[in-house]
């Protein structure tokens, strides 16, 4: 019964979405408020029904109802409860259901909290949302229905891929989808603006918080996924330039550009056409990501299924939405009014440069992702584009961007004084150069690139601090005044500083980890000691243990430094009987921002075991950086102007009407 109700609720949601696709638009043409308001009710009802559908699938997984194909293929009665729940989106069908649930959630939020939007704008936005939703409901119902029953139900399920049986699965996909799908809102707003032919600074003020929310989740989602790969795959890599990772990075780059261009539009009423185009591109890249992951054109950890009909269906959705929105853009963009003027050296100019570098970097990633696919299809040979390609292309562009980051927030709007800003950034620049010199002297020669990159990271962080110091008058003014000014500073200024500093922090982490990572790979016997980066790791012994749905072999290492015992580390290797596969659980020892990383290979016949030990200096900065960025985003989101900026509709009158 649960499966059937879930299925039925999804069909009802499709029906509602179809109504929401058409009726509000008719209402907007006829200027009929009642028809336009249909969108609000249907969006909320859709959220309810998709919620019912999603809950049904969760219940089926929790109850281990193996008469449902999706549960049989991805669950096991012995699996811990947490993984029974997270396993819902650890497969193709379930993850698509999560995708549409989040889409419905965003639609519901616009419907519920968008009361200060003009009625026709809200109707348009929700209608566009419903187009996207209808396409994906159809996709799920036609090609990937998670509620299909099996005629002869098996007694036991086939279990979830062991690599996915981890807390990471509980956090990473929902976060990522909140980001991906969140950009659908700015897309819908852009299409609505094009359809209405009206766009102004207030539009940007409505779009920015939604974009910011999506961006925050995407940032955290990518960082979380990277950390998960780092500790779960067992060899300490945290970014592989895998097409699927690129698929999440591209919307992030475009979304970051969008955040910045929406700022220009909101403050200065300029770059309107560009902002609209970016909104369309950002969500198009999210759709492209969905296509790459779900269609099976690429092999990766993330690609669940390779069913050609699904690929064709998603490709159709992709062409329809990207093609349609870009044609609409081409037809309507010229009718939008041009905004304010600015000199090339100005805050606007800096933000244009930011956009330019971000979109070009994004284009480079897109090229690297699609080039092997295109070559395979056109020239019929296979190849891979990996880290070396991106190091030569993406890295220089991003270095250029980082060099410009501290200048942006310090330039004035309209017409800036580059010389003055350079003088004020002198201290930050000197700090960067001093760090370059110190690191250079420390490592005595070697590649000049690493010290320079660390210096760049320090410059970005110092630049963010300088900006705050300038704004609060630190050093120049008495301390009490500084405090007062700091309190009066808009939250978005603090947000900017944190987000920019986060970039610098991540850069330092990336450079330190890749340059000074030390590694030890060998077979070890009992009581043997490995020396890595000043640590001594003594293998005390191997133990077997039975887990809920796996057996694991644990190795116990006594870690000491200079004869002083620090901790016991217990990496393990789990073998899952149901799937006949095994996973490597690395053990981590955190020391400041650095980590010692131990993972196991195969045991040999003589009782020795292959081990991999890494010392990764400052590796945690790689993920603290994005966390800082996301924190900056949250601060920015809580800015007063985003909360009270948009005009309120006159609702008071309704409330005063008598009850009868």
């Amino acid at each position: 019964m649960i499966a059937e109700s879930g299925h039925y609720a999804l069909v009802l949601a499709l029906g509602l979405a179809l109504i929401q696709s058409i009726v509000p638009l008719i209402g907007a043409r006829l200027r009929d408020a009642a028809l336009m308001n249909v969108a609000r009710s249907t969006a909320l009802a859709q959220l309810l029904f998709v919620g019912v559908s999603f809950t049904a699938l969760v219940m089926l997984h929790v109850n281990s109802d193996f008469s449902v194909a999706n549960v049989y293929e991805n669950s096991h009665s012995m699996k811990p409860l947490l993984y029974k729940i997270t396993g819902v989106w650890g497969n193709h069908e379930g993850s698509m259901l999560l995708w549409v649930s989040i889409l419905a959630l965003f639609g519901g939020l616009v419907a519920g909290f968008g009361n200060n939007l003009p009625l026709s704008l809200r109707a348009h936005v929700l209608a566009v949302q419903a187009w996207i939703a209808s396409a994906f409901y159809l996709f799920i119902l036609v090609t990937s229905n998670p509620f299909l029953r099996i005629v002869n139900p098996p007694i036991e399920g086939r279990d979830l891929n062991p690599v996915l049986q981890d807390i990471g699965l509980a956090v990473h996909p929902p976060m990522l989808y909140l980001g991906y799908v969140g950009f659908s809102i700015s897309f819908s707003f852009a299409i609505a603006a094009l359809m209405e032919g009206r766009i102004d600074a207030a539009w940007a003020r409505w779009v920015r918080p939604w974009t910011l929310v999506a961006w925050i989740f995407l940032t955290l989602g990518i960082a979380m996924g990277s950390y998960w790969a780092y500790y779960e795959l067992g060899w300490g890599g945290w970014w592989f330039w895998d097409p699927v990772e690129n698929a999440s990075l591209m919307p992030w780059l475009a979304g970051t550009a969008l955040l910045h261009s929406a700022l220009v539009m909101e403050k200065r009423n300029a770059l309107k056409v560009w902002t609209i185009l970016l909104s369309i591109l950002t969500f198009s890249l999210s759709l492209l990501g969905t296509f790459l992951v779900r269609s099976g054109v690429i092999t990766s950890v993330h690609a669940f299924a390779t069913d050609p009909t699904r690929g064709v269906f998603i490709l159709l959705i992709l062409c329809l939405f990207i093609g349609g929105s870009l044609s609409l853009f081409a037809g309507r963009a010229t009718s939008l009014k041009q905004g304010g003027l600015f000199a090339p050296i100005s805050r606007e100019g800096a933000l244009v440069l930011n956009n330019l570098l971000l979109t070009v970097a994004c284009a480079v990633v897109l090229f690297g992702t699609l080039y092997p696919l295109a070559m395979e299809m056109l020239a019929d040979f296979k190849m891979s584009v990996g880290a070396p390609f991106y190091n030569l292309t993406f890295a220089p562009l991003f270095a250029l961007l980082l060099l410009a980051v501290p200048f942006g927030p310090m330039l004035a709007w309209k017409r800036g004084d580059l010389l003055g800003v350079t003088q004020r950034l002198l201290a930050a620049g000197v700090a960067g150069l001093v760090v370059v010199a110190i690191v250079w002297a420390w490592v005595r020669g070697g590649s000049a690139l690493a010290p320079l990159a660390i210096g760049l990271g320090v410059f970005v962080i110092a630049g963010a601090v300088t900006d705050l110091a300038e704004r609060t008058g630190l050093v120049r003014l008495p301390f009490a005044t500084v405090l007062h000014r700091a309190r009066g500073l808009p939250r978005s200024a603090w947000g900017t500083a944190f987000a920019h500093a986060g970039l610098g922090v991540a850069l330092i982490g990336i450079v330190c980890e890749t340059t000074w990572n030390s590694e030890y790979i060998a077979t070890m016997k009992q009581n043997e000691v490995a020396h890595v980066a000043g640590y001594d790791l003594k293998l005390d012994g191997l133990f077997q243990r039975q887990g809920p749905n796996y057996r694991e072999m644990i190795a116990e290492f006594n870690v000491s430094r200079d004869g002083e015992a620090i901790r016991v580390m217990t990496p393990s290797k789990r073998s899952f009987t149901t799937r006949g596969s095994s996973t490597t659980e690395a053990a981590l020892l955190t020391h400041g921002a650095s980590q010692l990383y131990v993972s196991l290979g195969d045991a040999t016949a003589e009782g020795a075991i292959a081990v991999r030990i890494y010392h990764k200096p400052l590796v945690l900065l790689i993920w603290w950086g994005p966390v800082l960025m996301a924190f900056g985003g949250v601060l920015s989101l809580s800015d007063r102007r985003l909360r009270v900026g948009a005009p309120k509709p006159a609702r008071a009158r309704q409330r005063l009407q008598p009850a009868e």
Partner: protein, 169 residues
Amino acid sequence: MTRKQRRMTIIGGSLAVLALAAALVLNALRDSIVFFSTPTMVAEKHVEPGKRFRLGGLVQPGSLQRGDNLAVTFEVADGNAKLPVAYKGILPDLFREGQGVVAEGALDANGVFKADTVLAKHDETYMPKDVADALKKQGHWKDDYGAQASGAARPAAATAQGNPQGAVR
């Protein structure tokens, strides 16, 4: 500054950045791309020693030999040809004889493929997609590889990074 001048400045700047990016990409394409080959393709094309490529095929049953200090040798076959592979390091969890594998590295002077990375990245049919496609093209695809794939296939990935220089870097 007039609107026209502003537009020209922005267009000029954009073109400069695009040109820079294009130059970077073209430069990178020259030597950072890794091609995929099967043992047959290697035998036919006479790949020169030292050129990096990805080798894909099936691990020849009975060919895996473990040496001292994590050194392993095995053969990769695709039905027509075989190629010996030498690797030092920990093989991925999913590495099995008779099943698909992708190794990255280069040939040495003796015609042995020195791998520095071994990937056993595949779904439940134990067949990497690249390898499956290559086998299908050569007509060596056996239906029993695909038979297990009737359910939704889910991949698992495991990667091994080897270090040919020595144990400690």
